[in-house]
Homo-oligomer: 210 residues x 2
Amino acid sequence: MAREQAYHHGALREALLEAGDMVLAERGLKDFTLRECARRAGVSHSAPKHHFGDAAGFLTQIAARGFDRLRESLETRLAAARDLDEEFAETTRAYVGFAEANPEHFRIMFRCDLLHDMDETLVRAAQRTFTVLTNVIRRQRGEPEITLEELNGAFSFAALLEDTLIGWCHIHGFAHLKMERQLRIVPDQDFESLLTRTSARVGRMMRPSS
Amino acid sequence: MAREQAYHHGALREALLEAGDMVLAERGLKDFTLRECARRAGVSHSAPKHHFGDAAGFLTQIAARGFDRLRESLETRLAAARDLDEEFAETTRAYVGFAEANPEHFRIMFRCDLLHDMDETLVRAAQRTFTVLTNVIRRQRGEPEITLEELNGAFSFAALLEDTLIGWCHIHGFAHLKMERQLRIVPDQDFESLLTRTSARVGRMMRPSS
DNA sequence: TCCTCTATCTTGACAGTGCAAAGATTCTCG
DNA sequence: CGAGAATCTTTGCACTGTCAAGATAGAGGA
């Protein structure tokens, strides 16, 4: 269908999600409104209700798409890394880069109070992203990759969990603090170098060889 | 004055801030409203304007008080640490504990888009907190403490800045991820142990002796 | 004491919001 | 072809932040 001006939109759900991405990026989470999204999709202000329930339901799907985009970005950037030394730093760069390029998406992705945080789509999207990060750590540790399904039972291995936590906390903390302007102490011209050096050190500390 | 029912409240500014702390904690950042704060303070809905300007001005002061409370909590908990091994872990515990005990304050403290993030009171409060963290790292490194004033010029020393970044990213990332329910992979009964072990490792990596 | 100026607080109005109920239109499938 | 389900609109409500205008109280000088 998908014809213009029809009573039944045909692809309203997808159109609303794309409008939502635009509104979120342009107006920010602060001024994000369902009604503006509906206006951009060309429908009445309560059309979203049928597809998403309430605002939290809508934001949940937008957040899930955010995790998908973050995962894609990480995977793309990782494919280009040449050695272990570079890989962990590149992961940090990609994660921080996503947060800085999409601050409003990053904000909603990590606001469990605004989302249906047990929604299956959201949880799966976040888990898939987390799996990419875990495999980065596994390569640092000299272990083979692992699938999402294997991962859900694999964390009886405390050593891997420790390293994974250390890695994710470093990456996420870096991204969040930078995005929310709490790293003003770091001069702009030194930022890239500091990210690389600190990330390389954190990555190296979980490698068995050194 | 501070008498009840007076036209001039006498201490309205402080009363509004305390009401704001209550409303934020009870209703959450999601449902925080100026009007509810005014109601609790017993004044009209636009009384806050004279003292704080707009909503961002009000939230800025609440966030600054949040940083003060976080700093006080860190200082208190640090005073009890017995050795370096424990000190960094205890810092993490205190920071994570604050985020979990005051999630809504933590959220507003790190939302630069909702605050006047260059406000002097806010910046100073955040800097004082950051100074406490920096001194934790300095003790790990075997260096003497530093004041806020000295700190603002001290970061030509790249090595200290590196360690400080690593430490803060670890602590903050841990707290933020935990508070926003993104550490579901960590079983509850293992959480305390993992926090202690990962933090001790991160602290140890910046000590010259090992 | 009185009087003006300023700080403080109230009142009323406005555009905008999310949500819910009820109605309208279109699609689907027997 | 016709009934029921799916999809979208209309209307109404309580609530919000901000603004403009007015009311009240305190402070300091004559």
